[in-house]
Amino acid sequence: MPLEITECFKILGVSPGAHQGEIRAAFRRLALSFHPDVAGPGGAEKFEAAAAAYSILKTATPEQMADALKKAGGRKATRTQKTGEGSRFRWGGRRKKETPPAAGRKEEKKEEKNEQSSGRVRELLLERALVDAELAVARLLEKSRGEEESPAKIVVRLLGDHPEVRLMALRSLVGKPLPEEIFAALLDMARRRAAEDEVLELLMLMDLDQERKRELARALASRFAAMGEKTALTLLRLLNRLPDRTELLVKALLNPSARVIAAALVSWPPKTLPDELILIRLIKREEEAVLVPLLRLMKSAAVPSWAGPRITALSEKHSSPAVRVWAGSIVRSGNLL
C-alpha cells in the first residue's frame, strides 16, 4: 500500500512543500534517534516508516508535490483538530498502554464487588509470579554472560595457526572444567603442533583427571623425537607425575639430546630394560651422560649377552672414569649372561 505524499510529510515531520534538503535533514534527524544501530531493534519499525516516506518523497515528481501541497492546504482545518488524539506519527508515546487501563479498571471494580477478602491473596500471588519471573530472567542473564567462552569458540582457536592465539585459548582454559570437545581439540593440537615450553607449562596447570592426563601425555609424547631439548625436559617432568609411564618414556629415548635420554633413563622403573633395538642404539653412544644411567639400569636388571663385549670394552677403554667404574662393576659382578 503506497503511502500518500501528505502522509509522508507528516511522518518526517516537515511541512508539505518542504525543500529536498529539508526532507533529507528531517530523515537524518529521525535516523539518528531510531536507526537500529543507535536505538537497537526497538527502533526498527519507526526507522522503516521514516525510510519508506523518505524514499517516496525523494522520487516524487514536482507535480505530485504540488498536488500534495494543494490537498494539505484544504485539509488544514481538519488536521488541527486531529492533533489531540495522538496520531500514529507521534513518536514518543507508548500507545499500547493507553487504551487497556480502562478495561482493567472495569475488571477491578467487578473484583471489588465480588470478593474483597481475596484481595490480599491475589496480591501475594501476583507478587509471587513476578518474583518467579525475575529469578528466571536473572538466571538467564547470568547464563548468557557466563557462556561467553563457548566450546566451539575455544576449539577453533586451539586448532588455529597462530601460536599466540593458541596460547590465549590455553590461558582461558586454565582452572576450568574441560568439556569433551575442548579436550579432543587439545589432543589434536598436541599431536599436530610442535610443543613449546609455554604450552606445556599451561597444560600442566590444567585441571585434568588421571585418565585425561595420560591421554594428553601420550599425544604430546608422540612428538618427542622432534622436540627441542628444553621442551622435552619439561615434558619429562610432566610425565614423572604419572604412574606406569614406561611406554611414554620409550618415546623420550628417541630424542637425539643426551640430556633428555639421561633424564628418561633416570626415571626409568628399576629392574626393567628398554627393548633391545633401543638398547643397542644407546649403548653405542659415547656420552658419559647417557652411558652412566644406562649402565646403572643394566646392572639392576639382567644384562643381555650381546652387550658383553661392548661393556667389557667400555670398562677398559672409555675416557670417563665413571663409565669405566660402572661397566667394570657389571663385568665383575658377573651378571653378564
Binding site: R29, A129, D132, V137
Partner: protein
C-alpha cells in the same frame, strides 16, 4: 556487539584488517609477517589449509591448488581441485579470514567474534551471504557487511558531499556520500565487477609474452604466474616513470626490453574509459563537491588524468589509499565518540520474477537500510512452482525456492528483510501457516530483529500484561517493565525462548490469580 569488532578489507589481491585504538582512531593491524597487508591467497596442502604469505610462498610448488582472486569467485560455481576433492570459493576464503582473525586476536589480546566485512558495491546478496558464511566458518559469530567505497567515506573525516572511487585490484566501486550532523548518508553506490588492477596485470602479462615471443601457456602454469608478478611490478613502476627496462627472470628465457607507459596505457584505456564514464553519470546525478580516490589503482596516472579532464582533480585523502577501506570498516564496527551513524542504501533493485518472467521489484534501489517489505502474491497455477528472486537491472536470479502443491489462487506472503548488517533474509508464508526460508541466503543471523515471530509473541504478552498492570503497585509495574525490557534485549542476543517462556509463565500465573 560485544567486544572489539575487527574491520576486514578482503581485497582481490591483498587483505587488511583494522581495529580502533583507545581514542577511537582506526589502526591497521600488522600481520604475523610484520606487514600490514596479507596476500589474499589460499592454498590446500597435504597438511591442510594455508593462507596469506605462506600460501604465496608455496605457489610455485603447487600452482594448481593455490588460489588467488577468490573474492570474485564467491557465489559463482567455480570449484578448485585439491587432490580428489574440490572446494568452492567460500571454503577457500574461510582460512584466509581465519588468518586475519588470528592476527587481530594476537594484536588485541582478546578473542574477536564480531567483524565488519567490506564488500564491493556490485556484490549481490548471494555473494554477500557466501562471504558471511565463510566468515562464520572462520570463527566469527556476528558479521556485518559494508560497501567498500562507503567504508572509505567513513574513514574520510570531512563534511560535505563526496564521490568516492575505490579502484581495487579486482573491482571498481563508487559511492556518493553526504556527511554532516553526525550522519554519513549514502546517496548511491555502484560498481563494475571486472576491470580492476589485477586484470591489467593479466593484459600486460599477455602483452609481454607476445613481445618476448614466448609460447602461450595456461593461466595456471607457474610460468604465467611468474609473468604476472613481473607484469605487476612493471605496472607499478610505470606509474612513476615513463619507461621501464624489463629484465626477465632467467626462468622465462627472454631478452630484456623496454616497456613504455604509453604501451601500458593503450592496453588499459578501455577499462579506464568505462570507469570514468560511470563516475561521470554519478557526478551528473548528485553533483558532489569533492572527488576522492582510494585503492591501489588510484595511483594510475591515466585514471587521474582522465578524471581531471572530465570531472575534477581528485582531492587529498590524508590516509593511505590502500588502507582507507580497512580503517573505515574498523570505524563502522567500533562506533566510538568520533564516528558517525552510517545510513546505507540498497545498491540494486530486489524482487521476484513473476510467472511470465517479468521482474517485480519489492525493494527498490536507493532504499535506506535496514529495509523490510511484505507483499502478498497469488499463485496463478496449481501444483509446485519455484520462486525466483532477482537482483539488479538485468534481472539476475540470485536464489530460488520451491513451493510445493499450491492451490490456484492461494495467497503467498513474501517478506524481504535486509538487516543493518547488509544481509538479506527472505521468508515465505503460506495460507496454511507453513513457513519457508530460502536456503542460500539464510545465514541465521542472531539479530533477526522484529521479524521471526518472537517479537510478535512478546508484543502479545505485553498486551496481556497491560490488562493486568492496573492491579499492580507502581513498584511492581516498574519491575515488570524492567523484565520485559531485559527479555527483549536477550532476544536480540539470541537467547530468547527461555526468557519468553518465563515471561509467559508469569503472565499466565497473574491471570490465574486475577481470575
Amino acid at each position: 556487539m560485544k567486544g572489539p569488532v575487527l574491520g576486514i578489507d578482503l581485497g582481490t589481491k591483498n587483505a587488511l584488517c583494522a581495529l580502533t585504538d583507545g581514542s577511537g582512531a582506526p589502526v591497521v593491524i600488522p600481520g604475523r609477517w610484520g606487514k600490514r597487508t596479507t596476500p589474499s591467497v589460499a592454498a590446500w596442502t597435504e597438511s591442510g589449509w594455508v593462507a596469506g604469505e605462506a600460501a604465496l610462498a608455496g605457489e610455485m610448488k603447487r600452482p594448481h591448488s593455490t588460489w588467488r582472486d577468490l573474492k570474485r569467485k564467491l557465489g559463482t560455481n567455480w570449484r578448485g581441485r585439491c587432490g580428489r576433492a574440490s572446494v568452492n570459493a567460500e571454503e577457500a576464503i574461510a582460512p584466509l579470514l581465519a588468518l586475519l582473525r588470528e592476527d587481530g586476536e594476537a594484536y588485541a589480546g582478546v578473542f574477536l567474534e564480531s567483524c565488519v566485512l567490506a564488500v564491493p558495491a556490485s556484490f549481490s546478496f548471494a555473494e554477500r551471504s557466501a562471504m558471511a558464511r565463510a566468515a562464520r566458518s572462520a570463527g566469527f559469530v556476528r558479521i556485518r557487511m559494508v560497501n567498500e567505497p562507503t567504508a572509505a567515506a567513513l574513514a574520510y573525516g570531512e563534511r560535505g558531499r563526496v564521490l568516492i572511487l575505490d579502484y581495487g585490484a579486482g573491482t571498481v566501486d563508487l559511492s556518493v556520500v553526504e556527511s554532516g550532523e553526525g550522519v554519513c548518508q549514502v546517496l548511491e553506490s555502484g560498481g563494475l565487477p571486472s576491470c580492476g588492477g589485477w586484470d591489467f596485470d593479466a593484459i600486460l602479462a599477455m602483452h609481454l609474452a607476445d613481445r618476448a615471443g614466448m609460447e602461450k601457456t595456461g593461466r595456471d602454469s607457474p610460468r604465467f604466474r611468474m609473468l604476472l608478478s613481473e607484469a605487476e611490478e612493471i605496472k607499478i613502476a610505470l606509474s612513476n616513470c615513463m619507461s621501464y627496462e624489463w629484465i626477465p627472470p632467467p626462468g622465462l628465457g627472454a631478452r630484456p626490453f623496454c616497456v613504455s607507459r604509453r604501451e601500458l596505457e593503450a592496453l588499459i584505456r578501455p577499462s579506464i574509459e568505462k570507469v570514468v564514464s560511470l563516475a561521470e553519470t554519478f557526478v551528473k546525478k548528485h553533483r558532489p563537491s569533492r572527488l576522492l580516490l582510494v585503492g591501489g589503482g588510484s595511483r594510475i596516472p591515466l585514471l587521474r588524468r582522465a578524471l581531471e579532464e572530465r570531472i575534477a582533480p581528485p582531492g587529498r585523502m590524508c590516509l593511505s589509499p590502500d588502507e582507507a577501506v580497512a580503517a573505515g570498516t574498523a570505524l563502522y564496527g567500533n562506533p566510538g565518540g568520533r564516528s558517525r551513524l552510517l545510513l546505507d542504501v540498497l545498491s540494486e533493485d530486489l524482487g521476484i520474477l513473476a510467472a511470465d518472467g517479468a521482474p517485480v521489484p519489492l525493494l527498490t534501489k536507493g532504499m535506506p537500510l535496514p529495509a523490510r517489505v511484505e507483499k502478498e502474491f497469488v499463485s496463478v497455477g496449481r501444483g509446485a512452482f519455484s520462486l525466483k528472486v532477482f537482483q539488479g537491472e538485468g534481472g539476475r536470479v540470485i536464489a530460488e525456492a520451491g513451493v510445493s502443491s499450491a492451490r490456484k489462487g492461494e495467497a503467498v506472503t513474501l517478506a524481504f528483510a535486509v538487516d543493518g548488517g547488509g544481509l538479506l533474509r527472505i521468508d515465505i508464508r503460506r495460507e496454511n501457516g507453513e513457513r519457508a526460508v530460502i536456503p542460500p541466503l539464510e545465514i541465521g543471523t542472531a539479530d533477526g530483529w522484529s521479524f521471526d515471530g518472537k517479537s510478535d509473541e512478546i508484543r502479545a504478552l505485553e498486551k496481556r500484561f497491560s490488562l493486568l498492570s492496573p492491579l499492580l503497585t507502581p513498584g511492581q509495574q516498574a519491575r515488570a517493565d524492567v523484565l520485559f525490557r531485559t527479555v527483549k534485549s536477550l532476544l536480540d542476543e539470541g537467547v530468547g525462548p527461555e526468557g519468553l517462556e518465563s515471561l509467559g509463565a508469569m503472565v499466565a500465573e497473574m491471570e490465574r490469580a486475577v481470575g
